[in-house]
């Protein structure tokens, strides 16, 4: 800015108040000294000469609501006073950021749009502290996010560099589930309402149990399982998740904490029958053997849901255990061209963070 500019602007700068317009259209008067603490407002005043009257009020970015503006102005009001000690400022800051997460996010956003870096740093650190050490589900709860990783993303095939039979199994199951998902997508328009949350997986579960209880050879089990897979029903997110988690439990039976007796039995029986069950690729349509007591069904329902939820939160750790156990340490785990796989699953290269 040249001296001439300064001379011209100076009379304006003598005015103690400027006008700001927030996202909802309301205009308010603010002490210039305080508002100038925000680089963006400062810029608007000096470079564009705005804000001197109601008519040319400075339009604040959309992200600044009146509520957040008042918070920001409080902050500026305190900090623009030069005589305060670092200790004072720090203790003010600590009290200042005590607010609910939603407001903290809005505040960060607004401060960012006004380029008020010290406040952005303060709020970012506060949010980082909130996020630290939480599981994905807890984070979803805090920010009210839906669990919307699609089935497909959860069912990405794993790279099987050592031809581990367990991984082969898992991939086969994933491929099957992805195929079913696609069919389900097509039928989604036909089907009207949503049924019980995870009827299918419960069916599978129970047929598995029933099949294994009744038939030591396990052939009947596989047939029941096939029949149930063919059954066309509205499938919830959770059921495919539970299937995947069920299989994960099957292949990793030794490692996983057992949630219920049924889950126990599945693990034991599946370890001996895995190859049989999944050897058959052809499905035959048959009657659905559904002679299950509804009360028992509900109970199993709940247990499986609970178990799957727990498992889902351990998913990356479990998968890494799966990948690293039984493999040589020196095996190269990435290939130069495996971009998409690695990008999605790089987190799986982390052995369990204890």
């Amino acid at each position: 800015m040249s001296e001439i500019d300064m001379a011209v602007i100076k009379p304006e700068m003598m005015k103690p108040y400027i006008w700001l317009e927030t996202s909802d259209g309301s205009i308010q008067q603010v002490e210039q000294e305080i508002a100038m603490y925000c680089p963006l407002i400062c810029q608007e005043i000096i470079q564009k000469g705005m804000g001197s009257s109601k008519n040319c009020a400075i339009c604040l970015p959309q992200r600044v609501s009146p509520a957040t503006l008042s918070l920001i102005l409080d902050y500026c009001h305190f900090h623009q006073v030069p005589g305060r000690s670092n200790k004072e400022r720090k203790s003010y800051d600590e009290k200042f950021i005590r607010m609910d997460t939603k407001r903290l996010c809005e505040l960060t956003s607004a401060a960012d749009s006004l380029q008020l870096k010290p406040l952005v740093d303060l709020t970012s650190r506060a949010l980082a502290r909130i996020i630290e050490g939480k599981s994905p589900e807890e984070i979803r709860e805090i920010f009210h996010l839906p669990d919307d990783l699609t089935e497909e993303e959860k069912l990405e095939p794993l790279k099987n560099t050592t031809d581990d039979p367990r991984i082969r199994l898992l991939n086969r199951l994933y491929a099957k589930k992805r195929k079913e998902l696609k069919e389900r997508e097509r039928l989604k328009n036909v089907e009207a309402e949503e049924e019980h949350v995870d009827e299918r997986s419960v069916d599978d579960l129970l047929s598995f149990i029933n099949g294994n209880d009744g038939d030591p050879k396990g052939v009947k089990t596989s047939k029941n399982k096939k029949k149930n897979r063919r059954k066309k029903e509205q499938q919830q997110k959770n059921s495919s998740l539970k299937e995947a988690s069920e299989v994960n439990k099957e292949v990793n039976g030794q490692n996983i904490r057992h949630q219920s007796a049924e889950a126990d039995r599945i693990a034991e029986t599946s370890n001996s029958h895995t190859e049989d069950v999944f050897a058959h690729r052809e499905f035959d349509d048959g009657d659905i053997d559904d002679g299950i007591d509804p009360a028992l069904k509900e109970k199993i329902d709940r247990e499986v849901e609970d178990f799957a939820r727990r498992l889902n939160s351990d998913w990356p750790e479990r998968m890494q255990e799966l990948l690293s156990s039984g493999q040589e340490r020196k095996t190269i785990l990435f290939t130069p061209n495996g971009n998409s796989f690695l990008r999605r699953n790089a987190c799986m290269f982390f052995p369990c963070f204890e």
Partner: protein
């Protein structure tokens, strides 16, 4: 719907995530697709990697590693290492914190009589990460000196200094009737910073004393001492292994010295 990703711009979310930890970033990538994109981005992971990491990789024996995403580089360096400084040093990362772990090879040391092939010879072995290890035939005067500048390490971290070695013929496999007749190899280990005298400790290298531990890669290690890397890059840490008083030492194989962050 007011979700965090709609309220906050991506750069803000990336900044927030980079203020957490690598483990948290992995957890966050499981929250939702939009979070995943941000949590896996280079903007976040570049913050977890050491600032000079890219340069080190560029000058290393595997510069193509820089073509991967920052997250992939981080994952790679946690389990493997890069060889740099003409193959004299390796860099890897401590998984939880991203702090540097450096191993200096024996080639970077000053070994007394090390250039005399009748006493020491240099060979490449498949177990070593370096092209050559120092192998001692026999000597009454064992003295190995080395130093490292703090600029190679992460700042403000307490590092443990570990001597990595092995013996070709493990005396411990033999059972001696008389304990006193079993030949022992001792070492005096010293770590000091600048002119300050560090503490010295005497350990029995073979048969391995209590302080000697077996490493995952098959070598043995013994802690020589520790030091705090502080702020100044010019700090120099010296380490020394000496055994000039006792009997004949032989069959010692020296891989190098590792600097590893200590979790306090």
């Amino acid at each position: 719907m007011d979700t965090i990703t709609k309220v906050l711009p991506e750069e803000c979310v990336a900044t927030i995530i980079s203020l957490t930890s690598p483990k948290d970033a992995c957890q966050l990538s499981l929250v939702s697709p939009s979070f995943k994109e941000i949590a896996d981005s280079d903007a976040v992971w570049a913050n977890f990697l050491p600032s000079d990491c890219e340069d080190i990789i560029d000058q290393s024996s595997t510069p193509t590693l820089n073509l991967l995403s920052k997250k992939q580089i981080y994952a790679y360096l946690c389990d493997y290492h890069v060889l740099f400084d003409n193959g004299n040093m390796t860099l890897s990362l401590e998984k939880a914190t991203g702090k540097k772990c450096i191993i200096v090879s024996a080639k970077g040391f000053k070994i007394s009589w090390g250039d005399k092939p009748c006493y020491w010879y240099w060979e490449s072995t498949p177990e070593s990460r370096f092209s050559e290890v120092a192998m001692l035939k026999y000597l009454w005067w064992l003295e190995i000196l080395g130093s490292l500048e703090a600029k190679f390490l992460s700042a403000n971290t307490t590092y443990g200094v570990y001597f990595i070695f092995n013996f070709e013929n493990h005396g411990s496999e033999f059972i001696y009737l008389n304990q006193n007749s079993q030949p022992r190899t001792y070492g005096d280990l010293v770590v000091c910073e600048g002119n300050i005298n560090g503490y010295r400790k005497r350990v029995c290298l073979d048969p391995p004393g209590e302080e000697v531990h077996e490493r995952e890669d098959g070598w043995m290690e013994v802690e020589m001492g520790e030091f705090f890397s502080g702020d100044h890059e010019d700090n120099l840490v010296d380490f020394k292994l000496r055994d000039i008083n006792s009997q004949l030492t032989h069959f010692l194989v020296v891989e190098g010295v590792e600097f590893r962050p200590k979790n306090m």
